[in-house]
Symmetry: D2
């Protein structure tokens, strides 16, 4: 199931960075959901290279083509196939990488696993693979919208290296986030973050950071006890995004420093609805959503490709050095924001459909 | 797939805390693996209540019965069913909880999801459910041992609230960990941690902490690119354990404060084998093991059940108060150590069998 | 997924013929379905040995124990575990079979696959394995009843060797079928069939036959296009029953002798509902139920265990002879009727829950 | 999992008859398998319309494009995506079918299931969907060839309506089958069958028949006990092919007329290998291959689209009549032969990889 995600709402992605293209098949999507090519394209444009001065300047239009499953703007219930052609390929730029393993990339491990590797462009380990996820989530978000119009999934840059934003998950808006090219939810930090990314890039280096995500107005009752807990599936979804190193929900690692009496979320009634006065649970208890905001954070390491020389080895087993070339993101977070939202949306939609099957 | 884990090596658990018992079916286990009831029992004894003075004093023998799949000490290739009877049930102790939702427990969310709930003993949300996982992992570790005798999976208590251990994942031993009842890998911290847990318990409160885990001598090549990345499956496995709030691998959240040039792990050759000089990747790159130590940390919140009065609501929607009763762990970490090891073992075994299918 | 069946309503079976017992875990069952131990027991009693003079006289009470998932007669939404102890074991009776492969049994193939085998009682290949399926279907039929009270699943013996019954699938009743111990839907054939089975058994030989099944009042729209067509899942379900050699639906093999103009089922309107005037489609078109009766037939070979001497080989590779011993069914069909119904019920319930998830 | 087939070797198909195209993603394919676009194209050409005078004259080149997963003629271990553009679309020809349900087609049932339908060209229910299966099987057969070079999968037309071929599954060759456009394994019947199809077509009618398939030199040990028995998965695979109504293996339905002493296959030793003197088991015992020829038959109903007027109803619920138009196969069997082989190949490959994971 390597390239499959979800049980009821399932996606299957394919594609290497260089080659015929990348894409996704979406299976299990309810029929008669409104979706247009433009909605999918709009989602892809948010993760596209070249969208701003702080991301890779590669020129990829990432134009979505819908092969199946949609007719006159409505889903048919049959598999939806979305394909995006690979266009801006410069295989020559990867000649050196075909023989030298890039440190902290997947070159060596693909070789160790398969005994073969698509070196050009990073192959299947390229972030281009996430195109299929984002396209699928554009469809999924229409499913959510149909069944629960109030649900909102919002992610933003919480920190870039040591620069931390101050954001209230209850009130941050899509407009706040999209108002700045770094996609932080705290516009007052945007300039500092942008300047830092530019300066790091000038130095041939890279940075990481933390993306935070909130799901608002999620109905109580989503998530399955035991292995497919909602937070477990979110954790898997987030750690499946390239360059991630950690996931925490609600109080997270900091919560381990509290006592139970400090940490527990007391219940109270509000207009006939069960609420909690605090939300250290992060909106999920026992693997099941409780109706409060679902809040989690994802750690992204600094981009592995840097423009300074590093020690490494060749595929033939000789020690050597390698200096990054080409057009890379010095910081992936601005473009990772829509990917975090996409994976959260896919998890929610899958669990929504699963819940519907037992009700 | 709520109660199913794994694709090639699959386990299915069942059971409420109070009721006929809890257990597991293991499917996809290779034939002719050596396993005895005693091996399974030994594993269960490590997570058993009443094993030391800092865990719940409940008297549950947790005796494993093997119903199928094993003959004369060898697996048959058919499903292995292991059952553990529920014995120490005091349903009366839960009368109040049948009508009042325990804060930060799963009482309310089960009701929200299913419209019905096994209140007694916490039902399916009880930590007793993990018995099946631990039993299954006892079998899985024999599978690992057969195919890769050198693999070691070791977890230990890294912190209890503010008390942090100092442990080297490369050299910590099972003996270090089992030498103290809190199961920290740093015996010098054991007394302080034990005292802290006792004092918190006396105060009717509870604490959490962090468990760290290392997998040593894992062959390179395990893990599937894209969604079933090894770290993604580990993250899901860990977040499926009750009371967990976070997961990080290698450099984790702290790694987001480094630059790429500081963070990358340079490669070098050692006796014909590709190695890295540092291990901020945590033994996994691009979702696939690279042969270095796999190192990750799991955050556990303080136990939700505390002996002081808390605000909550009834199932009928009235505000009320609830004071915990009964025999609970003031700190789950000592007993969670074998559960973390179990889930890591299950993930590894599943990926090992998956890798064998394509080679 | 060897011992797992279903996607939304999933069952996992376990157990060898001799050993601790056999059973099933049911996962994905909706909550608040009425079910009692007696309902499950009643279903098991219909497939039990020793129930009449024409089936094996083995004395197995097959008493169901429910371990989890049901409280006060209602399902909890959590896994339902049902266990049946093995009681009437005569391992001595299988000493010879431990070294000699029984012709047309699974002894040799299990050895070829696993390199090990539970010889006693036939191990996992024993028909005892179907106990878990029948228990699970007792639960499933309550799910069907809740959502579609009119659905009826009825199977009966259509032929025993050359003795063919004459049964109208539209009107045959459960009473007709249960009125005779051979479970034919044509009571006028019962005596002849019973006499034939007795006479074949006296001769130390065995017979097979055909079971027919009808599903009445199935809503239109169940079944998934392409691979999980309703008839494809029924075919798999039926061919997974021991001793089956064929499956046909609607016109089946005989339909290959018709032309399209003879074979097609014309549509007409009846009280605002789309109906067909004939039913050569067997109630399914393009993998999806059309609301007409679903009618299919399953071929069962004669029981492999016979009391006459047969040529075979030993596990060590020597030619030898083997004569069956013990207490076996000379004809499995009377006891297979509830198993065919069980598997049909499981397929329907799974597809019903799948359909609910997209609506 | 509607459009997914297989567990270890998994395929996901997509595509409506009219629209952007049809295709498949293959996931779980071992790396370093030799495959070329030409091999895939060759397989597609065998199922292509317009290949002979007795199949539909539609002009579809069905040209395969490989998007991913293959590099320099070798599989990468990553998903292989194969796309085939839809070219010869005549949507106008389907105007009438958009409002009238074609008898014994899936028009009505898709509407009943989804409340929406791609009327043009039959949508997802079109036989064009099988293109993805055939492309995937071309890859799968290379996997089989690598691990078991001797395996042969051969299907042929056994009967066309009342015209029955006489074919020995042990000796029939691919050359025999491909020597005639009807693809019968009995060339002496070819002219009669071809003439019959032409004459039926001239009459505006259609015919069905039976396809038989043999798998030779299959290793013993493939197939999983219980639900994923090899014959159960073959049955599902075959019944998932459009227009199929039945499946039987080995002695099949005719075997129900034998006694056990007539039916059992005695074992004997041949050059140290366990063999059977007869093969009424059809090469599978207890769900697992025994090394003998696997032999099964599949019933295909007469093509539903005929050129004579039939009673039917409109989507709005009015009785009406419909006369088929356009370019259809009067008999699908010649083109279904490669589809039967494809599905058998996919089942075998999946079980081969599953078996490798436990050895």
């Amino acid at each position: 199931m390597s390239s499959t995600f979800g049980h009821a709402f399932r996606i299957h992605t394919y594609g290497e960075s260089h080659g015929g293209g990348v894409g996704v098949i979406i299976d299990g999507c309810p029929p008669r959901i409104e979706i247009s090519r433009e909605m999918i394209q709009h989602a892809l444009d948010r993760r596209r290279p070249g969208q701003s001065e702080i991301v890779t300047p590669r020129k990829e239009a990432d134009e979505a083509v819908i092969y199946s499953g949609i007719q006159d703007g409505l889903t048919l219930g049959t598999p939806i196939a979305v394909h995006v052609k690979n266009t801006d390929q410069r295989p020559g730029a990867y000649d050196e990488m075909a023989v030298k393993y890039r440190p902290s990339h997947a070159d060596y491990t693909y070789d160790a696993k398969y005994g073969i590797r698509a070196a050009s462009g990073g192959g299947r380990a390229s972030a281009r693979e996430t195109i299929g996820r984002v396209a699928a989530a554009a469809v999924a978000s229409q499913v959510l919208k149909k069944f629960h119009p109030q649900i909102e999934v919002l992610a933003w840059v919480q920190s870039i290296q040591h620069l931390h934003a101050n954001v209230d998950p209850s009130s941050v808006t899509a407009e706040d986030i999209e108002s700045n090219i770094v996609r932080t939810g705290d516009p007052s930090m945007a300039v500092a973050m942008i300047d830092h990314i530019k300066s790091i890039r000038s130095a041939g280096d890279s940075v990481g950071g933390v993306i935070q995500c909130v799901i608002r107005n999620c109905p109580a009752g989503l998530g399955e006890p035991i292995f497919d807990k909602l937070e477990a599936d979110l954790a898997k979804a987030m750690l499946s995004i390239p360059a991630t190193k950690g996931f925490e929900i609600g109080s997270g690692f900091a919560g381990t420093e509290l006592t139970g009496s400090q940490h527990n979320d007391p219940y109270f009634m509000e207009n006939g609805r069960v609420r909690t006065t605090s939300n250290r649970s992060g909106g999920i208890q026992g693997g099941i959503s409780n109706g409060e905001n679902i809040v989690f954070r994802v750690a992204f390491k600094p981009t592995a490709t840097i423009m300074t020389s590093q020690k490494t080895v060749t595929a033939d087993g000789d020690d050597t050095e390698l200096q990054g070339k080409g057009r890379h993101d010095a910081c992936v977070l601005p473009r990772a924001v829509p990917i975090v939202e996409a994976m959260a949306t896919l998890v929610l939609t899958d669990h929504l459909l699963r819940q519907r099957s037992i009700l």
